[in-house]
């Protein structure tokens, strides 16, 4: 809201964001806010943007938001269309890696081996399957829209900067935020930020910015840690850490992290010889 000076219309897809922010007839949104359906938030936002253009409100910006289910599965067609038409909307995905408020069902963003209500920890390959999933930041980049960025709730300054940056562009923009769900991931609430930080520090969740399909900046890992440290504090991965840790599966997840580190260049920057300048500045 600060990035737009309060001149903002928000469009929301169905999701837990609505459950806690707008339990009818109450709302915590103190801006113009629309809900339509689960699947059509990007299309509604397109319409709002078009209406603002027709009415000459060039300063009013449009934000659409959804969870990972509404983004990568149910609203995907509308979103891809919005990207393809380069409509002037910032679309924000709050990714908690499953359909959480309906009872933790798997989504296209659920990571491999994670237990959900629909991918139980049973059988020879417990939890969610190892597949490609849907990596929406990469799909958005493939549309070559002006701006794509990822962020986590562990670095709020970075998140603020990226929203600010997104508002400097016109056209379709996409911001993908990792938001751990304490209940669905099997975490103590207090560890929410910590686990988001570990997602970045393991390399499992790359934090970066891209413009017109090209990576522009990446947030380097500061203190790299093995994926065990991230997985073992979440009960959705508890089946990997029974009497015998499931080393084979953990190694496959580590391979995903390693591939991200190589692909995005996330490796830690070696400490600079003279750091006094940076800190004093």
């Amino acid at each position: 809201m600060r990035a737009t000076g309060g001149r903002l219309v928000a469009v929301n897809a169905t999701g837990c964001l609505e459950v806690f922010s707008t339990p009818s007839p109450e709302s915590s949104w103190r801006v113009a806010w629309l809900h339509s359906l689960f699947a059509n938030a990007p299309a509604v936002a397109t319409g709002v943007a078009a209406a603002m253009k027709v009415k000459g409100h060039a300063d009013v910006r449009v934000v659409a938001q959804a969870g990972d289910g509404g983004t990568v599965d149910i609203g995907f067609g509308c979103l891809s269309g919005m990207f393809e038409r380069n409509d002037d909307v910032l679309f924000i995905c709050y990714d908690n890696e499953a359909y959480m408020n309906t009872g933790v069902q798997r989504s296209g963003a659920t990571p491999p081996a994670a237990r959900t209500a629909t991918t139980e920890a049973v059988g020879p390959e417990p939890g969610n399957v190892f597949g490609q999933g849907k990596n929406l930041p990469r799909i958005a980049m493939a549309h070559e829209i002006p701006y794509v960025a990822t962020a986590t709730v562990a670095d709020l300054h970075d998140l603020e900067d990226k929203v600010q940056r997104a508002m400097e562009f016109r056209g379709a923009r996409y911001l993908h935020i990792l938001v751990p769900c304490p209940l669905g991931w099997g975490l103590d609430s207090k560890d929410t930020i910590r686990v988001a930080r570990l997602a970045k520090e393991t390399g499992l969740f790359p934090v970066f910015e891209a413009e017109h399909g090209q990576i522009r900046t990446v947030s380097h890992i500061r203190h790299q840690v093995p994926v065990e440290e991230y997985l073992s504090i979440q009960r959705r991965y508890a089946h990997l850490f029974r009497e015998q840790p499931n080393k084979a599966v953990i190694a496959r997840i580590q391979a995903i992290a390693d591939r991200n580190i190589a692909r995005y260049g996330l490796a830690p920057i070696p400490p600079h010889e003279d750091v006094s300048q940076g800190v004093n500045a």
């Binding site: 922010s21 707008t22 339990p23 009818s24 007839p25 109450e26 709302s27 915590s28 709730v153 709020l156 304490p182 103590d188 609430s189 207090k190 560890d191 929410t192 930020i193 910590r194 930080r197 500061r222 400490p271 750091v275 006094s276 940076g278 800190v279 004093n280």
Partner: protein, 542 residues
């Protein structure tokens, strides 16, 4: 439900109606935990508090906070063995904050700028006699004067400073710095009587109409051991050596000098001897390096200046031209035992640095004062068995450092103030220590410690110039900013940012935060993400 037409935009109510605070079973509470540096400071300095001010570049504010407790920052920034740095939580992250160097920077800046000490607060009409003008006596005089008492400070020496002047060599503490910090205290209006040896405390108290006395006479007598030595053998104790050098009257010692002992005084003596022109300065010590009581930094500097060590050796006798040493070995309890093996060490003179004792003859007339093994017995406020007579510094302490003495001076001043007004002395509330486990160090930038320049070794062996240099302003600021502010909120806004319920309310600069318990669910995220451990969870009373 309101009776409204179908499919119309509703007037929305605020979701603030949903008071999520009722879900809570634990509540976060802001606390000020005790930082380890502050806990460890023998002078009682609130280290983190003054560092916090220095971090913002408010050096005056930092210095003012510092001298509330300790009027000698420029001196302490040079000679203190900084136990604060030993316990600094940052040492577990990279390296301890260079607190001592920042203290010196602030102390020097204050002298350069001429910042005055706070003046006396009113006039109590009470008179206090302070015997001994070393760090304990001067610290007590400063605090007593500020509390409005009349202070008479006496010392048998011709100059003020005690062991800071007569014990500590000038290469560690340049005299202009010492003189300036002492003068600032005396300028508060303290009656000074030098060259005055107090022989009987009770008599002095009566004659001078003093309401209370602080005995801070130090430990000036060198402990001796019987070492058979020929007539021509040159044997001297370290205290006398240092005293004479500091009085510009250095003794003639020859080219090869042995120093017997393993404390800081032994190192001071050996380093002084090198500067007086000795080619060989050998420290003979009965135990090994691990068991040496001297501080590590001092030993490193001495070795760097060409001082050599004879570990596990005791001096048996001093024959003409050489010492006879017996080799020792440590038994299981770590005590040195003789081995019956002897060796010779060619030396011209021997310095004994075997510890010091206090001359307590001035207390003989005060029968209620108890003395146990040469140490005066005192209460926690440092009062002796005689009402109104307090004692501190080396005369009552096992840890004989200037820092401990300064702490004693302040403690005694508070005890004396309470005694004079008939109050019970206030005992500070104990606080939980902010240990490393309380911190979330993710939020601190990686920043290695700055080092202070040192005088080149080649120049050290010949001059009494100061060895350790000062921080420049930028280094001092960088170093201050490395402070983790353990246990004390520094308003980083993390709690405000991470709270999922917007239940943390910002109260404005330096006002910190408040928690809105109507909406705080007690998730504990603020506690977990607080970098400095300044929030704790406590169970709700249900």
């Amino acid at each position: 439900m309101k009776d409204l037409p179908f499919a119309i935009t509703l007037d929305v109510g605020s979701s603030r109606a949903n008071r999520t605070g009722s879900w809570r079973v634990e509540r976060p509470v802001y606390v000020d935990r005790l930082p380890p540096c502050t806990d460890a400071c023998p002078a009682g300095e609130e280290v983190q508090q003054w560092l916090y001010r220095a971090e913002t570049g408010d050096y005056r504010g930092a210095w003012e906070r510092l001298i509330e407790i300790n009027p000698f920052p420029a001196v302490m920034g040079r000679i203190c063995y900084h136990p604060c740095e030993t316990v600094c939580n940052r040492a577990q992250l990279d390296e301890a904050v260079g607190i001592n160097g920042i203290e010196r920077f602030l102390g020097d800046l204050a002298l350069e700028q001429g910042w005055p000490l706070p003046s006396a607060h009113g006039d109590s009409g009470k008179r206090v006699l302070v015997v001994g003008a070393g760090p304990a006596g001067l610290s007590a005089s400063y605090q007593l004067r500020r509390l409005g008492h009349h202070v008479g400070l006496v010392d048998s020496a011709p100059k003020l400073g005690g062991m800071m002047r007569y014990g500590i060599p000038a290469y560690r503490l340049p005299r202009p710095v010492l003189d300036a910090e002492i003068a600032r205290i005396i300028d508060l209006g303290i009656d000074v009587d030098l060259g005055h040896a107090v022989l009987d405390v009770e008599l002095e108290r009566r004659v001078g109409h003093f309401d209370a006395v602080f005995v801070a006479i130090g430990a000036q007598l060198a402990r001796r051991v019987e070492i058979p030595a020929g007539d021509s053998a040159r044997v001297l104790d370290a205290i006398t050596l240092l005293h004479r050098v500091n009085n510009d009257d250095p003794p003639l010692l020859g080219r090869r000098v042995a120093v017997y002992g393993g404390g800081d005084t032994a190192l001071d003596a050996a380093r002084t001897v090198r500067r007086l022109g000795a080619t060989d300065a050998v420290i003979v010590y009965r135990r090994n390096r691990e068991r040496m009581p001297a501080h590590g930094d001092e030993l490193e500097q001495a070795l760097g200046e060409g001082v050599t060590m004879r570990w596990l050796s005791s001096v048996t006798r001093f024959d003409p031209d050489h010492l006879v040493l017996e080799k020792m070995h440590l038994n299981e309890a770590g005590f040195p035992e003789p081995t019956g093996e002897f060796e010779a060490l060619d030396v011209d003179s021997l310095i004994l640095a075997l510890g010091q004792e206090t001359d307590l003859s001035l207390l003989e007339s005060a029968r209620d004062i108890q003395v146990e093994e040469g140490v005066i017995e005192v209460t926690p406020t440092l009062m002796t068995g005689e009402p109104g007579v307090f004692a501190g510094g080396d005369a009552v302490s096992e840890q004989r450092t200037a820092t401990v003495a300064i702490g004693h001076g302040r403690r005694a001043a508070r005890g004396i103030d309470a005694f004079l007004s008939g109050r019970e002395p206030a005992s500070p509330a104990s606080r939980e220590i902010a240990s490393f486990e309380h911190l979330n160090t993710w939020y601190y930038a990686d920043a290695p410690r700055q080092t202070r320049p040192e005088l080149e070794r080649a120049r050290r062996a010949s001059t009494f110039d100061e060895v350790v240099g000062a921080f420049a302003q930028t280094n001092a600021l960088f170093e201050a900013r490395r402070c983790l502010s353990c246990g004390n909120c520094f308003e980083c806004d993390n709690c405000f940012g991470v709270c999922p319920d917007n239940a943390v309310i910002k109260l404005g600069p330096s006002q910190r935060y408040e928690i809105d318990y109507d909406f705080c669910k007690g998730c504990g995220m603020c506690v977990q993400e607080c970098p400095c451990g300044a929030i704790e969870m406590i169970p709700e009373q249900i």
